[in-house]
């Protein structure tokens, strides 16, 4: 059946599915979305831990260690290594995240062997020169200090520190902790992280299963095999109420949130619907309408599920003139209360489901994004058929179910706020 909208006939959507292949090699399993329309391959891989394993007083170690990997390896100096990457148009990066250590590259197919060679060299023979450490440390110190220049940076930091005062997610790096990190610490961190144990790999683009098998052997074959311990579970978000970091600025940043749910929760997707309606992307959310469209109090407001240590935290942010902070905070709490008490309307649920279902193909136009999305699915513990089953799961969601999960999860009284600026009216 065809619909008509604004005089335009809407044909049935074209079918779309994403076949995910599972490719095993030497104990490593990689997910692959194969596509030969563009001569590009993207690879992404991850281990658990990252900053979760940073020793007390040396916060920032995983991040600094990751930054050292492209600073020279084997017989290549830092300049030689950078030249080799740029000569072939390869984008290679390593990051030490909150609960994971990750690598990724994107390369044209003719540059793929070189990308594998350089990524392998960085992981197996990083030079970790003292001069390079001095440069990388200076960069990290600068970033750390610059992040304190704005209300946005201060509020973000305050949220995590106050929300997890005794857990690693709340222990952020400081200039002192970065200064305390030495070469031995970096060696120890990389030695523990770079292993074939607990390694998750995903790939997307112009490579087939056989090609990927060979690539996995070449890229990871030389790594040791020891397992990495699982990360500890995320504790409850501390109910810290409101925390303020004063900053002389005409506008305040508010970072707000509460505990979320587990990705294994059967109502995970029903809750995604509730949160999209309340505070999700674009113009359509209730908060965007009430705070931006009707009152002109912000450029943007939104909240989403931030998944870390196997559990989601609901976190949102908004920036508003200092004088409006009280009003905006009150609007946020009212919207939260209203959604928890009465749930969404039928029309809101229909719109949100249409978006979540219809936007699937948009996630697969870019090989890097595809590889990264697959990696996120794996880190969340999803099975390869999770994507294929999504339309059916979305179809089974109705208003009552969304209202139920909203009432169960949303806690207007437990909503916490970190704010920076010179807020009025709190």
């Amino acid at each position: 059946m065809s619909d008509t909208l604004f005089g335009v006939t809407l044909p049935p959507r074209r079918g779309f599915s994403v076949p995910i292949q599972s490719v095993g090699q030497g104990g490593i399993t990689a997910w692959l979305v194969e596509d030969h329309s563009v001569p590009v391959v993207s690879l992404a891989w991850a281990w658990p831990q990252g900053a979760a394993a940073d020793p007390r007083g040396k916060e920032g170690l995983a991040s600094l260690s990751a930054a050292m990997l492209p600073e020279g390896a084997g017989d290549l100096s830092n300049v030689g290594f950078a030249d080799a990457l740029m000569d072939a148009g390869i984008g290679l990066s390593f990051t030490g995240g909150r609960d994971s250590f990750e690598g990724s590259f994107r390369a044209l197919t003719d540059a793929l062997p070189e990308a594998v060679r350089l990524a392998r060299l960085a992981m197996t023979q990083p030079r970790l020169d003292a001069e390079a450490l001095s440069r990388v440390r200076a960069r990290a110190l600068l970033a750390s200090r610059q992040s304190l220049e704005t209300p946005a940076g201060l509020a973000r930091r305050a949220f995590w520190e106050a929300g997890f005062p005794t857990f690693t997610a709340g222990r952020l790096s400081t200039p002192e902790s970065i200064a305390a990190i030495g070469q031995d610490d970096i060696r120890a961190c990389l030695g523990a992280q770079l292993t074939r144990g607990n390694l998750l790999v995903t790939a997307s683009g112009a490579i087939d299963a056989a090609g990927l098998k060979a690539l996995l052997a070449e890229l990871f074959g030389a790594l040791p095999e020891h397992p990495i311990p699982d990360t500890p579970p995320l504790p409850n978000l501390a109910e810290f109420g409101v925390t303020l970091r004063p900053k002389a600025a005409p506008q305040s940043t508010l970072v707000f949130g509460q505990d979320g749910l587990l990705p294994t929760d059967p109502d995970w997707e029903a809750f995604q619907v509730a949160l999209r309606i309340l505070a999700g992307g674009g113009f359509t959310s209730r908060l965007m309408k009430s705070v931006r469209e009707e009152r002109g109090l912000t450029y943007g407001i939104g909240a989403g599920l931030d998944l870390l240590f196997g559990r989601a935290v609901i976190i949102g942010n908004v920036q508003t003139a200092n004088a409006s902070v009280g009003e905006v905070w009150s609007l946020i709490r009212s919207a939260w209360t209203e959604m928890a008490a009465h749930g969404p309307t039928e029309a809101e649920v229909a719109d949100a489901l249409a978006f979540l279902g219809g936007s699937l193909p948009l996630q697969f136009t870019d090989s890097r994004r595809t590889a990264s999305l697959l990696l996120n699915l794996r880190q969340t513990g999803r099975a390869p058929d999770w994507l294929a089953g999504r339309p059916a799961r979305l179809a089974a969601i109705d208003r009552a179910r969304v209202a139920r999960v909203a009432a169960r999860v949303l806690k207007p009284d437990g909503l916490v706020l970190a704010v920076s600026g010179e807020p009025v009216g709190l």
């Binding site: 959507r13 506008q251 976190i315 136009t365």
Partner: protein
């Protein structure tokens, strides 16, 4: 931007928190390729040639996107860059007018109009545009640069005609409802605070541009507008800007994705064809000031923790002055300050004087371009040490010139990844639209890697001398703690 851009925050997997602070960078060809560095010199050898669906090997003289283009009777240029990876279409409408066309004393009108374009047109009620795009599973947004204003949607390919229907309606006649103007002015003022007023580095950049070009010169005004001028913009100002500049012949439509040319021709005629032809005034950019109002500025800001140095030179662009120097300047910027291994990196970062140092060239612009060098000193390093080191690097390049090896290396780095622009639906419309909307031909983008490969050492050294020794104007500035 109409809304803070955040690429579909994790509806499928891990939720990513929308950043709500997106840069309002002008879209340029090179920026669209940033992070995409790779090699014309290396012949493309397909990794798995046995796969029947594999794209054919590319030759260096092939156009980058292989886009086709035509012009409707009303003057609207249409471009299609097919890409069949997923059943998705990106639909971009570029107006050849941006903040550079803001009337004197009314900075911010182009950007304010961009916001008000979402407030309805004769057949699409206010707010319905974005709501419809979302219901169809798509994304929409808009951005304003100094030279263009662009509106875009990314949707499942079968929804492209619906997008064209809605976009053509507001191109023809936006409503600009008076009763929504004040709330939206509030949004724009909050946007200004988020980008500039609450961000010390944003405040500095704004002050720097004003110091170099003059606060009322088109190049020295902020894209988003001065606060008092945003407050004074009237509904009539916004309507006038649209009437004057948003005409079919002053616009470019770019579609990228899984779309056939015959279909796009039919839809373009059906939806955009009926808009009457209207002439837009030619761009009328004021000439450069005789001298920079301030050739040197030092700004202390109590919020700042780390100092920064920036020096910017007026430079030829692809549309202004000696346009032949534009490509050589791109090469020069890379060898001077394009990351690890560049001259500035060696002289300032490797030596421990600076945490970072580099150079940049913005030459895909209407009117004068700009060439800049920057550095962030390490703690304890004096301002004079930084400036002396930079001057020494520049003096050597002016006197001795860059070597042949450096020039070849820079060209290789700049072009090696050019084909990565095919990965995704963002680069083609932004590069093609950005060029066409400032009056450059489609070949400017399609054969860009080849043109770069032909740049010679002599051209690079000539371009460097022209900008560094005889700039029309230049300003050096420090942002300092305190």
């Amino acid at each position: 931007m109409m809304t803070p851009s955040s690429e579909t925050p994790g509806t499928l997997a891990q939720g990513r928190v929308p950043s709500h602070v997106a840069a309002m960078d002008p879209v340029t060809r090179r920026r669209a390729l940033k992070g995409a560095a790779a090699t014309l010199a290396a012949p493309a050898i397909p990794a798995s040639a046995q796969t029947p669906t594999l794209a054919p090997p590319r030759r260096a003289d092939q156009p980058l996107f292989g886009a086709v283009s035509w012009t409707l009777e009303n003057g609207l240029k249409v471009v299609l860059a097919e890409n069949r990876r997923a059943p998705v279409a990106a639909h971009y409408l570029f107006a050849s007018a941006g903040a550079g066309e803001d009337p004197a004393g009314k900075s911010g009108v182009a950007h304010f109009l961009e916001h008000m374009m979402f407030k309805g047109s004769p057949n699409i009620p206010s707010g319905a545009f974005s709501q419809t795009v979302a219901r169809e599973g798509g994304q929409d947004n808009a951005f304003t640069s100094r030279d263009v204003t662009a509106y875009y949607q990314i949707v499942e390919a079968s929804r492209l005609p619906l997008m064209m229907r809605m976009e053509s309606d507001r191109l023809r006649e936006p409503l600009i409802p008076a009763d929504e103007l004040e709330a939206e002015r509030g949004v724009v003022l909050e946007e200004r605070r988020s980008r500039t007023d609450a961000v010390p580095r944003g405040r500095f950049r704004e002050a720097f541009d004003a110091a170099m070009w003059g606060p009322q010169h088109w190049r020295g005004r902020p894209l988003i507008g001065w606060e008092d001028e945003i407050r004074a913009i009237t509904r009539q100002d916004v309507l006038d800007f649209h009437r004057l500049h948003y005409t079919p012949s002053n616009s470019v439509l770019i579609v990228a994705g899984d779309v056939r040319e015959a279909d796009l021709r039919r839809w373009a005629d059906e939806f955009y064809g009926p808009i009457p032809r209207r002439d837009a005034p030619p761009r009328n950019r004021a000439p450069l000031p005789a001298a920079a109002p301030e050739s040197r500025m030092e700004r202390r800001d109590p919020a700042v923790r780390e100092s920064s140095f920036l020096k910017t030179y007026a430079a030829p662009s692809a549309t202004w002055g000696e346009t032949d120097l534009a490509d050589p300047l791109e090469v020069f910027a890379h060898l001077l300050g394009g990351g690890t291994g560049s001259r500035l990196h060696k002289a300032l970062v490797e030596t421990g004087l600076a945490v970072s140092a580099g150079a940049g060239y913005d030459g895909d612009t209407v009117g004068v371009g700009s060439f800049g060098v920057y550095a962030t000193p390490r703690p304890g390093i004096e301002m004079a040490q930084i400036e002396t080191a930079i001057s020494a690097v520049l003096a050597d390049l002016v006197q001795e010139g860059a070597s042949e090896a450096e020039v070849r290396r820079a060209i290789r780095h700049e072009t090696a990844g050019s084909l990565l622009a095919l990965d995704g639906l963002g680069a083609a419309p932004r590069m093609l639209g950005g060029a066409l909307a400032i009056g450059l031909p489609i070949e400017f983008v399609e054969h860009w890697p080849q043109r770069m490969a032909e740049v010679t050492r002599d051209q690079v050294n000539k371009a460097a001398r022209a900008v560094l020794t005889e700039p029309k104007i230049a300003t050096a500035g420090w942002l300092l703690p305190g």
